[in-house]
Symmetry: C3
Subunit: 143 residues, 3 copies
């Protein structure tokens, strides 16, 4: 069994942003030389997500707008209070809630060295509280 884990950095540039990380995932899978198995993708931050949708800029905006509509930054949140852990006011409850809705991870099968996915499926790092330097994991397991 081959197992390869890579931690990747992404510098987001906006408050809310979808960054297409599909090429990075394809590179890790290729370099792993795993022929058949699975690739797991996971963000390491609770105010960001990993999601899969079609690679269209118009749709990326619709996804961000919908998540902001369902869980806006402004709200009557308990998290909007002084937090010892951060030494400041909590202010990003909306970002955490958007991450719950979007999900924080994804996986795809690998067959004959290629990721098995629909022709329109793209994997996105979803920034809900940027801009920030972020880390996500790509893990390949197989043989």
């Amino acid at each position: 069994m081959k197992i390869k884990l890579e931690k990747l950095e992404v510098q987001t540039k906006k408050d809310q942003e979808l960054v297409d990380i599909t090429p990075e995932i394809e590179r890790v899978v290729k370099e792993s030389r795993v022929k058949n198995g699975v690739v797991n993708i996971m963000t390491m931050h609770t105010s960001s997500g990993i999601l899969v949708t079609e690679g269209l800029p118009c749709l990326e905006m619709d996804v961000l707008n919908k998540l902001e509509e369902l869980a806006p930054d402004q709200g009557n949140y308990f998290h909007n209070r002084y937090l010892d852990i951060d030494g400041r006011l909590g202010f990003n409850a909306g970002a955490h809630l958007r991450a719950i809705i979007s999900g924080y991870n994804a996986f795809f099968p690998i067959e004959n060295g290629k990721i098995v996915k629909g022709s329109r499926q793209r994997v996105y790092f979803a920034e809900f509280d940027g801009p920030l330097a972020r880390t996500y994991c790509v893990q390949v397991i197989g043989e």
Copy 2:
């Protein structure tokens, strides 16, 4: 390590529909002869989902209604414009957004050749933009 991947077709019949694919998943697991491992299920389309809920027709309707309420077909979407990729107007932003909320994949452990799941858990292919011929993957990994 045994790895088996099967691509399955489902012909949906309605605009929005939950199709119980649990029997197909059980069949693939059985035929794989994997005793212990995991089964991964994934739709290959970004306007459909995979979700897990109780197998009751009343609840299936509630799930579809709730997703339509949270992300309706009609909305002020950027995706509602001419798309070169399709040679027509984008019109299914709501379907893509429902897929983000529902999720596109699922997994279950396998133990002694059986899927480990709660007695009421059923796995559904969730059509959000039908009727269409759809493809989903079932992958079994284990030994």
Copy 3:
């Protein structure tokens, strides 16, 4: 390949509650002696979920409130009718719908015997229809 599956019980105490199960998951991973692989976590009930967020009581309340806002107990649900399977009125459509939004499972990579996760990521059993005695699975696969 090592595969270990444990079914764990959690007694929830409230109608809606987030229970941090991270220590239990860490224990199962440690006892599995898997050095590199993946840990899968799954609830076995369709009116509960598994979700990942930051471990702050204020945020836990915000998550539960948001899910209740998006899918309230009271609603015009088809599930609110007599169910032969239960011998009583269905009453928890909202709980099932919150479970769809939150998701029912999670996974994390394992590297050098440790779960790979962000410093603020905690794994929660999400009760949406308690108080109840609940079961969830933790499965470790690796070598």
